[in-house]
Symmetry: C2
Subunit: 169 residues, 2 copies
Amino acid sequence: MAISMYSASVPVFTRTLGQLAAWLDKAEAHAQAKKFDTSVYLAARLAPDMLPFTKQIQIACDAAKFGVARLAGVESPRFEDNETSFADLRERIRKTVAFVNSVPASAIDGTEDKDITVPRRDGNIVLKGEFYLKHYVQPNFYFHVTTAYALLRHNGVELGKGDFLGTLS
Amino acid sequence: MAISMYSASVPVFTRTLGQLAAWLDKAEAHAQAKKFDTSVYLAARLAPDMLPFTKQIQIACDAAKFGVARLAGVESPRFEDNETSFADLRERIRKTVAFVNSVPASAIDGTEDKDITVPRRDGNIVLKGEFYLKHYVQPNFYFHVTTAYALLRHNGVELGKGDFLGTLS
């Protein structure tokens, strides 16, 4: 029993990335109804020195991608961070989900005590797999996903908690 | 091995609630420097139909409180949702941390398959303990904590990712 490293990572990320993709649909419908271009969302920020919407989605994807790749000890696909449209963002999410789903549970389970090297602005740090997942990857992932949600809400898109949590039954 | 239900709940919540309390200190310092009252933050919203700052903190605390109480099958302390100041919010966070820390690991470990009844606006739902923690409590907790962070950033408080993630070494 107990929660496996796999079940606390891949399904957590794919579930929420699926919600994120659905928010893009609602954002697109809102833009159409209000007659503005979806590109308006891409540069939206909550503060002048916060990252814009596109970057929030890129980093949310990367949190999942690098988290899974580092735990499993596999190479992660390189994304160019060149998304300039909703279609590009959808593709970024799709590629991320495809990658994390390609990693077998056996490569992630058992990595609780594995040393994970995490590049940080001020140098590498080394964290144990379980700490890395629970106190770095998960909060970082939810941080950027929630900020993307907040940006859409701030720009008038009708989303609710159900859109964030997804299906519960 | 594997992640225990306790380690994926209580320490996750107390760690991040500790960061949240520290953001209040920075927000207070910012208000003093800019000569406005901290009560201005309390009513701040990112959208007219989103919940204000005070409510974000109340719900973040409740996500932790009810999550832990329902998994452990213990009564949770009743909070009146009557916070009207930063001092009140600090006390709410303190009481929440004290409660979740009062629940022994033995009461939460092993609840992976326990049926948890979750009251929702449209009626009760029943989720298994592990699903409830990973796909309901954790995302809901991070949602409200991140929204509180976003509200402070939106109002000029100088916070960074380090303030969100906390100490990593």
